[in-house]
């Protein structure tokens, strides 16, 4: 009897395999199948925490206590706090200056890395180091360098006669402190700019430069009329990412200044931690974190639209 049933089973198995193969050949099925694992991860690790944060921001949640929905009261009340208003201002100053400096230095560094250099690969790899080292660790190094007692920055400056003793109070004076946190953010973020822009540079067709040169364009004109327009798309994406990351920076400020002096370097993330975790007011903390979400969402929307138009 077994001999008789074997061909039937094999045929059934064969037809099942064929059907699966046919299904997988269809884009409408294979596409979602590939996306599903990533989608599950995004739902669990991004969407769920985001929705939780949104709920917390709209509630009077306090660690370990029952909470109730209070609408946008947290967002309104935050504006009364001097520390929050200061944080709001700091975030824009910090992000605008850090991103602007990173754009200028990033393009310069990318142009430099695009030249024929000795040990090009090693240098390109080394440039990435600040971006690869864990931020908390590298910022501790910077903290040591700006520390009032051990500052190697001041020691060098004084030794070279560039500073008069005791040198700038890097982390204790509001403008110096902001300079310090921006400097470390630039140091850390510059490789991301440089390498991404370098990728953009490499993809610019050489003929464009040759044609410009034939038309008598100098180095500056070639940069202005060829390089920069060709980099627009890459720059838009890099600036978009960097703006979001810089707005939400935490480690640098938390380690270097703890938000001080007198809240002069607090960013949304550090203030959110101080209020939400240290003081238990999760609702207010979440509202601080999400305060700029609508604005950032608009920036993302506008910039992505711009990039899409450029591509078309």
């Amino acid at each position: 009897m077994a001999i008789g049933t074997l061909p039937v089973t094999a045929t059934a198995r064969g037809s099942l395999r064929t059907r699966v193969r046919e299904l997988l050949d269809r884009e409408a099925i294979l596409g979602p199948l590939f996306i599903t694992p990533a989608l599950i991860l995004i739902l669990l690790l991004v969407a769920y925490p985001f929705c939780m944060a949104l709920y917390f921001a709209l509630s009077n949640a306090f660690i370990g206590r029952p909470s109730t929905f209070i609408g946008i009261r947290n967002f309104v009340r935050l504006w009364d706090s001097d520390a929050f208003r200061q944080t709001f201002q700091n975030s824009f100053v910090f992000t605008a200056s850090a991103v602007a400096i990173k754009v200028v230095l990033g393009i310069s560094l990318a142009l430099l890395l695009n030249q024929q250099l000795w040990f090009k690969r090693v240098i390109r790899g080394a440039v990435l180091l600040p971006w690869v080292i864990p931020t908390a660790l590298s910022t501790l190094g910077w903290w040591w360098m700006f520390n009032s007692l051990y500052s190697v920055v001041n020691w060098t400056g004084i030794s070279l006669g560039l500073m008069s003793p005791p040198g700038p109070n890097w982390l204790g004076q509001r403008y110096y402190a902001m300079t310090a946190v921006v400097l470390v953010n630039v140091w850390r973020g510059l490789p991301f700019f440089a390498i991404t822009i370098l990728a953009g540079l490499v993809s610019i067709p050489q003929e464009l430069y040759e044609a410009a040169e034939a038309d008598g364009a100098g180095a500056l004109a070639r940069f202005w009329y060829v390089t920069l327009p060709m980099l627009k798309g890459v720059l838009a994406i890099v600036v978009l990412f960097s703006t979001i990351f810089t707005f939400s920076d935490f480690n640098i400020v938390y380690i270097l200044t703890h938000g001080g002096p007198i809240n002069a370097t607090h960013l949304f993330a550090t203030l959110a931690r101080q209020v939400g975790i240290d003081s238990g007011r999760i609702g207010e903390g979440a509202a601080i974190s999400l305060y700029l979400f609508p604005l950032l969402a608009l920036i993302v929307f506008a910039q992505l639209r711009y990039v899409r138009n450029q591509a078309n």
Binding site: I63, S148, L171, G172, Q173, I262, V275, S279, G280, I282
Partner: protein, 425 residues
């Protein structure tokens, strides 16, 4: 012995299994009892080692396994606590600092029975421990030890320059001017850290001031006593200190005196203990003196530490057994305190004259005769709003504003306004 039929065996077995499943607790017989304890890296590392040894003996004596995890004392522990509470999972026991029992009140087991036993044996818990651990009429955490702030100075430099050891905050200004001239300024942080509050509080209290009244609702920062405090800070900043204090972290004043710069700091004994352990050249010269007085007496910041048990713990009784073992057995508690090299002092009244204070002549000032010890925000209770005032550094920021150019009146008005908004929120 009554014989058991197959039918009764199945019936009783099923009922037992149903009971276990319903209660989610395994039967005591054959059950391995295990508890977990989250505590901080102690400022006196030998104390952590001793805790591990005591835990091993505890397991041997009681059969209860204990797993001790250490975490950095500032920063990460609050994130950890928040996540344990939000997820209702984690350690059974947690070490807590100052007002934490207020912050986590609804999540902590009422532990008044254990504190009652300890108080019967060792006398009342010290006032600062009561202020912080006794929340709305219930002990939410057991006082474990405390560490207070004390005047720490370079005795060798004082002797060399024939400076008088100060007795009041005004005396400190007089010697501070000389110290700054010598290149050894006074080191009191005026920045966004807890040490800044730990000094600003005692100065304010000594001048008769407070941030919020004991009702926890009325802001009292705008007072003549605060004006005196701010003016004192302004003079100190100008004549006795260097601008670096505006950038200091909790560790900076310790490092400054240990590295030979500061001539006087206000800190727990850790500055001296670490200098001694690391055999720094400054160790011999560092000493402590009696806490400074103001027109309204001598006050110091005290940081009591506690052990709390989360309500979500499934091992509340074994957890209590650990606390009784560590703190309730006099010889074990003494052994633990002695290992802390006077950084961890007993939190009960009858034990205040502890032998640990006689292990080094430089610990005499820690007896704190005539000194009143309080936690941050005193005399206000440690409500979550008062803690927000502390955690947003309003007191040091008010002082920082004043010493960097804002008028005394405006700086105080700013602090008053911010405190009012917090209490009204």
């Amino acid at each position: 012995m009554a014989s058991m039929t197959r039918r009764t065996f199945v019936a009783s077995g099923t009922a037992g299994l149903a009971g276990i499943l319903a209660s989610r607790v395994a039967p005591a017989v054959g059950q391995t009892r295990e508890i977990s304890y989250l505590c901080w890296n102690n400022f006196a590392p030998a104390s952590d080692k001793k805790l591990g040894e005591i835990a091993q003996r505890f397991t041997k004596d009681t059969g209860i396994k204990i797993k001790i995890d250490h975490i950095s004392h500032m920063g990460p522990q609050q994130t950890k606590y928040a996540s344990e509470v939000q997820t209702q999972a984690g350690h059974d026991l947690v070490e807590m600092r100052m007002h934490f029992p207020w912050l986590y009140e609804p999540q902590l087991v009422d532990i008044s029975d254990v504190v009652g036993e300890l108080e019967k044996k060792y006398g009342k818990a010290i006032p600062s421990a009561y202020e912080c651990g006794h929340v709305n009429g219930v002990w939410r955490a057991v006082p474990q030890y405390h560490g207070m702030f004390v005047a720490t100075y370079r005795e060798d430099l004082f002797k060399k320059a024939s400076l008088k050891v100060p007795d009041t905050w005004e005396d400190l200004y007089v010697v501070g001017k000389e110290l700054k001239k010598m290149g050894n300024p006074v080191g009191i942080p005026i920045s966004q850290n807890y040490d800044s509050i730990s000094t600003a509080g005692p100065v304010l209290w000594s001048f008769g001031g407070m941030e919020v009244d004991k009702d926890g609702k009325t802001v009292r920062i705008n007072s003549p006593a605060t004006v005196q405090t701010v003016e004192w800070y302004k003079r100190m900043f100008r004549d006795c200190m260097e601008p670096e204090v505006l950038s200091w972290s909790d560790a900076s004043n310790n490092e400054s005196i240990q590295q030979g710069k500061a001539g006087w700091i206000h800190n727990p004994v850790s500055a001296y203990i670490v200098a001694k352990q690391r055999k720094l050249v400054t160790a011999d010269g560092i000493n402590h003196h009696r806490s400074l007085a103001g027109p309204h007496g001598r006050h110091e910041t005290d940081t009591p530490r506690f052990i709390g048990i989360w309500k979500f713990s499934k091992n509340i009784e074994p957890a209590k057994e650990w606390i009784r073992y560590l703190l309730g057995k006099r010889e074990v508690y003494d052994e633990y305190i002695m290992s802390g090299d006077a950084f961890n002092l007993p939190a009960y009244e009858k034990l205040q004259d502890h032998p640990v204070l006689r292990t080094d002549a430089k610990y005499v000032a820690l007896k704190g005769e005539g000194v009143q010890y309080h936690a941050y925000g005193w005399p206000a209770p440690g409500s979550e709003k008062v803690q927000l005032i502390t955690n947003t550094y309003l007191l040091p920021n008010m002082l920082a504003k004043a010493v960097t150019g804002t008028s005394t009146k405006d700086a105080i008005a700013w602090a008053e306004n911010e405190m009012r908004k917090i209490l009204a929120g």
